[in-house]
């Protein structure tokens, strides 16, 4: 195993470019995209019912951090949508809403979903109020609820209604974590890639025929790729923390700790791909495709909470990035303890072990 590691480390020193470039990209992308204001967008909204302006709905719209609802007249909203100045507009009524779609974009479903939730909340509150017979209590409760809303604790209150569906969006963390998890895939993949080169060049055959134990050979490769990927994450987080000055709200070591199973799972995944592809070209074609789609579905580019499609969410459950983001957000944003993160941690570990096993099975098939 030392022999394998020895060669890999020498190779790494000779050609560190993937590593350096991917580390730089992570930092660059985050700095360019991440420190700007949250990626919000504006939606013109109007209502023919004037009483809506001081309702719960109005407040909820104002409080939305992700979408800026702007009150306009019906005329101006329709014009904007017609002329393409806005992708969509919204007409609100007391118990219903209409979306005017100019261009069909993902924003439509985001807005639709947001509005649905707001109306649902309203409905629930009204039902609750109706359920209470006593008029006096009803008024009190209503006042209370409005009072809560006015003091912006509304959000926390609704969390109980919506449960898991509510999330806190932090653009900076989203970028830091997303890009870190995304770019490290390349670093790992192009280290694991050595295996394919070795196979193509016949070095692998030489190793197979040597007295070195098979497990030493695999462990050597695993350990090396793991260390390269993990090193990159450490460097990135350290730079963000100490040089860029980002407060992660949690101890850095905890963030780094939960990255161990993530890096392991990615190493295993790329080794599995190495075992399944036949040529270097196939590998080069698959890796970017896979990493980009995993990042999109797994929530590295935008919060997974914005993904609504059931099939996509099911796919997301199979993707390591999903759990990586869950772990990092869990620690940095929700301040979860490691015990609370037991499930994503163990899923990643299981993925890693499983994929390594399958990969070795496929690689061994050819040999005696």
């Amino acid at each position: 195993m030392n022999g394998v590691l020895f060669a890999k480390i020498k190779l790494f020193i000779r050609t560190p470019w993937t590593f350096v470039i991917m580390t730089a990209m992570t930092i660059l992308f985050t700095l360019i995209l991440g420190t700007s204001n949250p990626a919000t967008f504006q939606v013109p909204v109007y209502s023919l019912d004037n009483s809506l302006e001081d309702s719960l709905i109005y407040k909820a719209l104002q409080d939305n951090k992700f979408i800026q609802f702007q009150w306009r007249s019906m005329e101006s909203t329709k014009q904007k949508v017609k002329k393409g100045k806005a992708e969509l507009g919204v007409e609100l009524s007391a118990n219903d809403f209409k979306i005017l779609v100019g261009v069909n974009s993902p924003k439509v479903s985001i807005v639709e979903h947001t509005l649905q939730e707001i109306y649902m909340d309203k409905l629930k509150q009204e039902k609750m109020l109706k359920g209470i017979k006593d008029k006096k209590t009803r008024i009190e409760l209503k006042e209370q609820l409005e009072d809560i809303a006015a003091h912006a604790v509304f959000h926390i209150q609704t969390m109980e209604f919506k449960g898991e569906e509510d999330f806190i969006y932090n653009n900076l963390f989203q970028r830091v974590f997303g890009f870190t998890l995304f770019f490290v895939i390349y670093t790992i993949a192009y280290n694991v890639f050595h295996i394919l080169i070795e196979k193509r060049d016949g070095i692998w055959d030489r190793i197979i025929l040597s007295p070195i134990k098979r497990w030493e050979m695999y462990t050597g490769n695993l350990v090396y790729s793991f260390v390269a990927g993990y090193l990159q994450i450490i460097i990135v987080f350290l730079i963000f923390h100490f040089i860029v000055g980002i407060e992660f709200n949690a101890s850095l070591w905890k963030l780094l700790l939960v990255m161990i199973p993530y890096v392991f799972a990615i190493v295993a995944l790329t080794i599995l791909i190495t075992a399944l592809v036949k040529t270097v070209q196939q590998f080069n074609a698959i890796i970017p495709m896979l990493s980009v789609s995993m990042a999109m579905v797994g929530g590295a580019f935008w919060p997974i909470e914005l993904v609504q499609s059931k099939p996509l969410l099911m796919i997301a459950d199979l993707i390591p990035i999903t759990y990586g983001m869950e772990l990092l957000n869990g620690i940095a944003i929700y301040n979860y303890s490691l015990e609370q993160l037991f499930s994503p941690l163990s899923i990643l570990l299981l993925m890693g072990v499983g994929m390594t096993g399958i990969a070795i099975h496929f690689m061994e098939r050819r040999y005696i």
């Binding site: 016949g202 030489r206 040999y367």
Partner: protein, 310 residues
């Protein structure tokens, strides 16, 4: 020492190697000859325990290697057909890596690296990265790697392909020396007849997966005792001449080069008269007619109807 019994490898419909029987005794240099695609490399992969045969067996000291290849692997050095080295590492680093996976360490490793570098004549180039090497230097290092653990059986798959004459004779001399001085057993694969004639005691000839001849050099040449090879040199070759030669029933094989033709004819035929006659009728200016000593190349031509290298 090593014995192949009905060794077969099939890829879908294609028999890369079909029912190969072969043996190698201790201290021999055995040649394995064949044109491109004959199945030489496939045979070597099987007998070195790298890939599993579809059928048949390989026995090392009487024991099948299919279940326990360990013994064989320990004492075997393989020189693969393609250069199997890390191009980004230096000659010395490559040797260090392969030495380590062969469980050499410390002083012993260092000493072996020195010996091997000397043997392959690359001491001066030890610090240079392999990708900057010439073809011949890469070939030599490719061989050197296989010698690190002092194997007693050396299997070489076309170790001299595409290199300059100096490097080639250097390699041939080295192999011969290893055999004579260290008693190393060698299986030497090639499609160059001269190399095999120079090195080998016994020869196997393969074509299209089949073994088509086997024996000592002399035995193989015996195949042609009833026939003679004749080399005809002409001023300016023309199509008509070749066609007439081919049409002549007593002439067995006709192969053409630049203004020369090689034919194989039975010994009892009055060959000079025949050729003079044909030349006259086809307006050919003859330069010389020469009876050649039989070479392995001729045997190959005789057996397959094709030249060994095309």
């Amino acid at each position: 020492m090593l014995e192949l019994a009905r060794l077969t490898k099939r890829y879908k419909q294609l028999y890369a190697v079909k029912g190969l029987n072969m043996f190698i005794e201790k201290g021999e240099i055995v040649g394995l000859l064949g044109p491109n695609g004959a199945g030489k490399s496939t045979a070597i992969s099987m007998l070195s325990s790298l890939i599993e045969p579809t059928e048949g067996d390989v026995r090392f000291h009487g024991k099948s290697i299919l279940k326990s290849p360990g013994e064989l692997r320990k004492v075997t050095g393989i020189v693969p057909q393609e250069i199997a080295l890390y191009p980004e590492l230096s000659a010395e680093e490559n040797l260090q890596f392969f030495g380590r996976i062969y469980q050499l360490k410390g002083k012993q490793l260092k000493q072996r690296i020195e010996e091997v570098l000397e043997l392959i004549g690359l001491q001066e180039k030890r610090k240079e990265v392999v990708k900057k090497f010439s073809g011949g230097m890469k070939r030599r290092l490719n061989i050197g790697v296989a010698l690190l653990h002092q194997p007693s059986l050396l299997i070489m798959d076309e170790p001299t392909v595409g290199i300059d004459p100096q490097s080639r004779s250097y390699i041939l001399e080295t192999v011969k020396r290893l055999n004579e001085e260290k008693g190393m057993t060698v299986l030497y694969t090639s499609h160059y007849m001269e190399e095999v004639e120079f090195l080998c005691d016994r020869i196997y000839i393969m074509d299209k997966g089949n073994l088509i001849a086997a024996g000592t050099k002399e035995e193989i040449k015996q195949i042609l005792t009833s026939e003679t090879t004749v080399l005809i040199k002409v001023e300016q070759l023309n199509e008509k001449f070749v066609q007439r030669l081919q049409a002549e029933p007593s002439i067995h094989q006709v192969s053409t080069g630049e203004n020369e033709v090689t034919v194989i004819v039975p010994k009892e035929i009055p060959v000079f008269k025949l050729i003079l006659n044909i030349a006259e009728h086809t307006d050919i200016e003859l330069l010389s007619i020469e009876m050649k000593a039989t070479t392995l190349e001729d045997v190959f031509l005789h057996l397959t109807g094709r030249a060994l290298r095309d």
